[in-house]
């Protein structure tokens, strides 16, 4: 992890909000990783079915319906937890800096992530999209998480 033991940081760590933020964000990333995994398997299985390649990989992978549900549940769980984490983060920011908002990469990434998962949930719930496209979006969103991790580390 990218730990920078500045005074502020150590003070901040004692905050309940910070704790909430950190715990929640890890849980949500876990859920989004699960969504990413199911999306990846979905795309492989969908590709097998479309191209009529019924190899041993096809037999071993779960049904499309199972993968689709798995993805939906993962994001459905991850999104509220991500929201909680962002709220916790903002409250913590208010506690140490006195403001709710700063324009740094980390905050922007969080916002973009939150919007992206909100969009995925919306299109899925309103049945505007399903299957491949949702899978692509889940994978894209997870890449943004990975990206934000590295950029947060390098920006410190």
């Amino acid at each position: 992890m990218c730990v920078n033991p500045s005074i502020d940081f150590i003070l901040g760590c004692k905050s309940t909000y910070f704790l909430l933020h950190i715990i929640a964000i890890h849980i949500s990333y876990l859920a989004f990783f699960s969504a990413f995994l199911s999306a990846l398997l979905y795309l492989i299985q969908d590709n097998n079915l479309k191209n009529k390649k019924l190899n041993s990989m096809f037999s071993r992978l779960p049904d499309l319906s199972v993968l689709d549900r798995w993805n939906y549940i993962s994001i459905g769980l991850g999104f509220p937890v991500l929201t909680l984490s962002i709220v916790g983060g903002l409250l913590w920011l208010k506690g140490i800096a006195g403001i709710y908002w700063v324009w740094n990469t980390r905050v922007i990434y969080s916002l973009v992530l939150w919007l992206l998962y909100a969009i995925i949930l919306h299109v899925r719930l309103s049945a505007k999209m399903r299957g491949r496209k949702v899978a692509y979006l889940s994978i894209l969103a997870f890449f943004i998480i990975v990206f934000s991790f590295f950029s947060a580390c390098s920006s410190r």
Binding site: Q45, L49, K50, K52, L54, F58, S59, D63, L64, S65, V66, A127, K128, M129, R130, G131, R132, K133
Partner: protein
């Protein structure tokens, strides 16, 4: 003392002859006893399925002629009518033959599972007839073991090998459990019927049939507890169908990409599985390119069946290895026991005759 098997199967005889020689389930026990008593055999067992009739006997001398006469008399058929169709194996060859049969290697669809159950029933019947002795008892136990081993250690039973089972497997891979899924059948031809029966066996409950001649749709619907609709009404049912089986005699495609594209929002993008059994095809090939829509035509399905069959055939060598080794074990047992079934099965009456 000899172990002999005499039989006919789908490879050696047409159904007209097989059905003449076959035994129904309720006459096998009596036939076993009558065969043993007529030819004073030590042990015997009749295996009769729709694809084969085989008689396993343990006897002192060559009794093939006697069995032929027994069959001829019992079934009222000239020996010459079926003699050329018969195969006869003795001792080790008979053991290997039974192992092959029970594992489904001698079946029409290689590696099929049903035959093992039929062999088990034949064994139980013979057991009930009290026509089994130490040799056949042990032989059949070893047969069940070998068949199980082949099933678990090779890939001979892997993959679906009929168009119907491939389709059901695909349906499940796309849609999950089929119990709450709706099937729309377009065209009441006979091709779709077997598939429909198979889908129904796998849990499908809601079936709708559309046909140009409404009466034919009614007849088919009646047979499957389905609903018949007018042909022109089928697009309406596409909205909530999950599986569509099309087999009309139309000279051109009846379902086009644009129709399906317009349909998907109304379906809330739920997956849709098209099975096109018609030649010429009923459904535009481009339909497969739409998200959440999967199209398989009869050639696609047949190709998967052929691939699976050839995969099974690749496994034959490893199956034969298991059979050779199991047969060798059995032979060693026979030698070790210095098998003399006559003495073992000697009943008081037989003793007196001697």
């Amino acid at each position: 003392m000899k172990l002999i098997v005499l039989g006919i199967n789908h490879k050696t005889a047409p159904v007209e002859i097989r059905e003449k020689l076959s035994f129904s389930a309720n006459e096998v026990i009596r036939a076993n006893r009558s065969l043993r008593d007529t030819l004073s055999l030590s042990e015997c067992l009749i295996l009769s399925t729709c694809n084969r009739v085989e008689i396993y006997v343990v006897a002192r001398d060559d009794c093939a002629g006697g069995i032929k006469r027994f069959l001829s008399k019992l079934r009222n058929i000239e020996i010459s009518e079926f003699e050329k169709r018969l195969y006869i194996y003795e001792d080790s060859d008979a053991v290997k033959h039974l192992f092959r049969v029970a594992a489904g290697l001698d079946s029409m669809v290689i590696g099929e599972m049903e035959i093992l159950g039929q062999v088990k029933i034949a064994y139980q019947d013979a057991s009930e007839s009290k026509t089994l002795g130490k040799l056949l008892n042990r032989l059949f136990q070893k047969t069940f073991n070998a068949a199980k081993k082949i099933r678990t250690e090779t890939l001979i039973t892997r993959g679906s090998v009929s168009v119907s089972s491939v389709t059901v497997r695909l349906s499940e891979k796309i849609l999950g459990h089929l119990a709450d899924k709706k099937v729309l059948v377009i065209g009441a031809g006979t091709i779709g019927e077997q598939l429909l029966r198979y889908l129904k066996k796998n849990g499908v409950k809601i079936i709708v049939v559309a046909n140009r001649t409404y009466e034919k749709a009614l007849v088919l619907a009646d047979r499957f507890g389905a609903t018949a609709i007018k042909f022109d009404d089928f697009p309406q049912d596409l909205i909530d169908a999950d599986i569509v089986i099309s087999s009309t005699g139309a000279p051109h495609t009846i379902i086009h990409k644009d129709d399906v594209l317009r349909l998907m929002p109304k379906r809330h993008q739920r997956p849709l599985f098209f099975i096109d059994l018609a030649v010429p095809r009923d459904i535009e090939a481009e339909v497969n390119k739409i998200d959440n829509v999967y199209l398989y035509n009869i050639d696609d399905l047949q190709k998967i069946v052929d691939e699976n069959l050839s995969l099974r055939k690749n496994e034959l060598d490893s199956c034969n290895e298991i059979i050779e080794s199991a047969a060798l074990h059995f032979k060693n047992w026979l030698v070790k026991e210095s098998f003399t079934p006559l003495e073992m099965r000697l009943s008081p009456t037989e003793g007196e005759i001697r």
